[in-house]
């Protein structure tokens, strides 16, 4: 997995709540059997006027010029700033893949949907939860000046802006450790191989029907 340590970047303000995974990446792109190439279809229905298909040349499609992702001034942002319950809806990890593939490394919001959040951690995308007031502040700053930047440091769990205002955020120790080191969770789990086997043997005795041939 990709590791994450720190970043300094401008922010892209997506001022809507309950942004669902269907909006992040619409259904037709889920037909891909790959993990890559979704960035061009991030927020596809909001970004383009005409409908798109997997594998087509998207550079020819008509843009919704006023959609924030299409605005020149936010082109380099690596931090996506969003509202509450970001990533609700389906479990499609394609949502996280498309955000990463587009070039974001951090999403800041007042809250995230559970499955989306766990998908972030598995891919090295850092979801940061700040309170409503702090998120409001960040929106105000970015809207006033698109070149406004923040510094994010995972180890010290801090977001700091160019006015030296800083916000600390919470993250599970284990998640942090995996992200900082880019660890593969499967490897970590397989360190407990004998425990899993032991559990399974016990289960065969107590609930044998779970293992009866289908």
């Amino acid at each position: 997995m990709k590791s994450f340590a720190e970043i300094t970047s401008t922010l892209l303000p997506l001022d809507r709540s309950n942004v669902d995974t269907d909006a992040i990446i619409p259904q037709q792109y889920l037909k891909s059997v790959k993990r890559t190439g979704f960035g061009v279809n991030l927020f596809d229905n909001w970004r383009y006027q005409d409908p798109g298909l997997l594998g087509q040349d998207h550079s020819q499609r008509r843009l919704h010029e006023d959609f924030v992702l299409n605005q020149e001034k936010h082109q380099d942002a690596k931090i996506l700033l969003a509202r509450e319950n970001f990533g609700c809806g389906s479990s499609r990890e394609h949502a996280v893949w498309s955000i990463l593939d587009y070039g974001f490394e951090v999403v800041i919001a007042p809250s995230f949907a559970d499955i989306f959040c766990s998908n972030c951690y598995k891919n090295g995308l850092l979801p940061i939860t700040l309170n409503d007031g702090d998120v409001d502040y960040l929106f105000e700053q970015v809207k006033a000046d698109a070149s406004y930047q923040c510094y994010v440091n995972l180890d010290s769990q801090i977001v700091k802006d160019e006015n030296d205002k800083s916000f600390s955020f919470q993250i599970d120790e284990f998640r942090k450790y995996c992200l900082l080191n880019g660890y593969d969770e499967i490897d970590l789990t397989l360190q407990h191989e004998s425990k899993i086997k032991e559990y399974e043997e016990k289960l065969k005795l107590t609930s044998p029907w779970l293992f009866a041939a289908n």
Binding site: N18, K31, P51, S91, I115, K122, W209
Partner: protein, 461 residues
């Protein structure tokens, strides 16, 4: 011993290892697999040269991409076909149990799990799909996972996670005739909001839940995720055990006796602690219709779209092309979809057919379709003559799959079209770019098909 909730019990039974910070390794009993969220997981497994941990825990099927029209000639859409073929190939390579497109047992993954007896009480059940919460209706801990987690379960039979909080949603009283499981869950979401149960496992309880059939309970648990709850659960009772008995994958003989004994304990202890609790009175519930682009934007059929709207609601109404204050019964629909893992089981079809019987589609309905949840449900419905009832009214009778619930196949709304749909999500573009979705129960969808706009189905009953 501390009093435990149903969720506490099932969780505790599956902890393989717990770290000091609470991060736990949880054993997974059943892994359901479909074509959309699995190819990258199998690919990851191959790249890392890892083997599958436990093949007999897996049941696979195709549902999202497949056509609902004649399938004998295969799939026209090359990209969809690739995804379906990839699952077929993976199942072949790893010798997994799969119901492929032409198998009568094929269907929507959340319909076939319980139907086959592959989803059982007390199990941990996962699938790369958020509506895995459906299976919680049987007293299982069932939740959706992402593709990396699919790979993790394939490789280790476990997941790394923290225990969530407990929420109790109690629906007391009794629903009036014509008010269904779908209306209960839409009302719950309306009350909780789409993020109301984030970080929680919901237990649904109360007399109105007890009175539901197991299929109705699945409808309720199915939409837990629409309130933000990754899992929804319902305690085991006689109805649960009766439902499971005799299904192909259910325990047999002496295993059955042993299993039932354990399942009987799958309920919350008296006085168990819930982190939050809400009560709903079923007596007062009316049929529900969503008017916006989030399932929480819902109203009584005799009510109207709100007058005073927030920014999000205004944006939703714009997308839906509705004015604030519009009466729900004034909303005309173009298409009707009866199907999805929420409402495509035999009882749903029976109830809808009952409304349609000897009636015709309203003239403004461009298309009305019924998509059974599985091949076996389709067969059953045909034996009962339900297909005849639907077809006589002007409905199309299709092959099983996800279909217009998300429009990955050809079944989609055109931009601007408005649909009465028994599915679970009314997000922008969910049923096709620019399409407008109103979520309703099967009987409400049937009544809308007959009238061409929403009507209170209770007037038929």
């Amino acid at each position: 011993m501390q009093n435990k909730t149903l969720y506490d019990k099932v969780w505790q039974n599956h902890v393989v290892h717990e770290r000091d910070d609470g991060m736990s390794l949880i054993y997974i009993d059943r892994h359901l697999v479909h074509e959309v969220t699995s190819p990258q997981a199998f690919e990851g497994l191959r790249l890392a040269k890892r083997d599958l941990w436990r093949k007999d825990s897996i049941l696979a099927t195709v549902d999202h991409n497949i056509p609902t029209t004649d399938r004998s000639a295969g799939i026209d859409d090359v990209i969809s076909k690739t995804q379906v073929d990839t699952l077929d190939q993976n199942c072949k390579d790893y010798s997994l149990t799969q119901f492929s497109m032409l198998d009568a047992r094929q269907g929507i993954v959340h319909v076939i799990g319980p139907e086959q007896g592959a989803s059982l009480p007390g199990m941990t059940i996962v699938c790369g799909d958020s509506h895995t919460s459906t299976h919680g209706a049987l007293g299982a801990l069932a939740f959706g996972i992402g593709t990396s987690e699919v790979e993790h379960v394939l490789a280790t039979q476990c997941l790394l996670m923290k225990k969530s909080k407990n929420m109790l949603v109690k629906i007391n009283g009794q629903c009036q005739s014509g008010v269904t499981a779908k209306d209960i869950v839409l009302a719950i979401i309306g009350k909780l909001g789409t993020a109301g149960a984030n970080g929680h496992t919901i237990e649904f309880a109360g007399s109105a839940i007890r009175a539901l059939s197991v299929e109705g309970r699945m409808t309720v648990c199915n939409m837990s995720i629409e309130a933000g709850g990754r899992a929804g659960m319902i305690a085991v009772d006689d109805a649960t055990i009766e439902y499971i008995a005799g299904r192909p994958f259910s325990p047999k003989n002496e295993h059955w006796e042993l299993a039932v004994k354990q399942w009987r304990m799958l309920n919350s202890d008296e006085g168990a602690h819930f982190d939050s609790e809400i009560d709903i009175n079923a007596d007062e519930l009316q049929p529900q219709v969503t008017w916006g682009t989030s399932p929480e934007m819902v109203a009584d059929v005799n009510g109207s779209v709100p007058d005073n709207v927030s920014d999000d609601q205004r944006r939703a109404l714009q997308y839906m092309d509705l004015q604030p204050g519009t009466s729900i019964s004034d909303i005309k629909v173009d298409k009707v979809f009866i199907g999805s893992c929420t409402n495509s089981r035999i009882e749903d079809l029976r109830e809808a057919a009952n409304i349609i019987q000897d009636r015709k589609l309203a003239s403004n309905i461009k298309l009305a379709m019924v998509v059974p949840g599985s091949g076996l449900i389709k067969q059953q419905a045909e034996q009962e003559g339900l297909d005849i009832v639907f077809k006589a009214a002007g409905f199309e009778w299709r092959e099983p799959g996800c279909s217009m619930c998300l429009g990955m196949n050809a079944d989609q709304l055109e931009p601007g079209e408005r649909c009465a749909s028994t599915s679970n999500r009314n997000f922008e573009g969910r049923q096709g770019k620019g399409g407008r979705t109103h979520l309703v129960s099967p009987v409400m969808a049937a009544a809308a098909a007959v009238h061409g706009h929403f009507v209170d189905v209770r007037r038929y009953l």
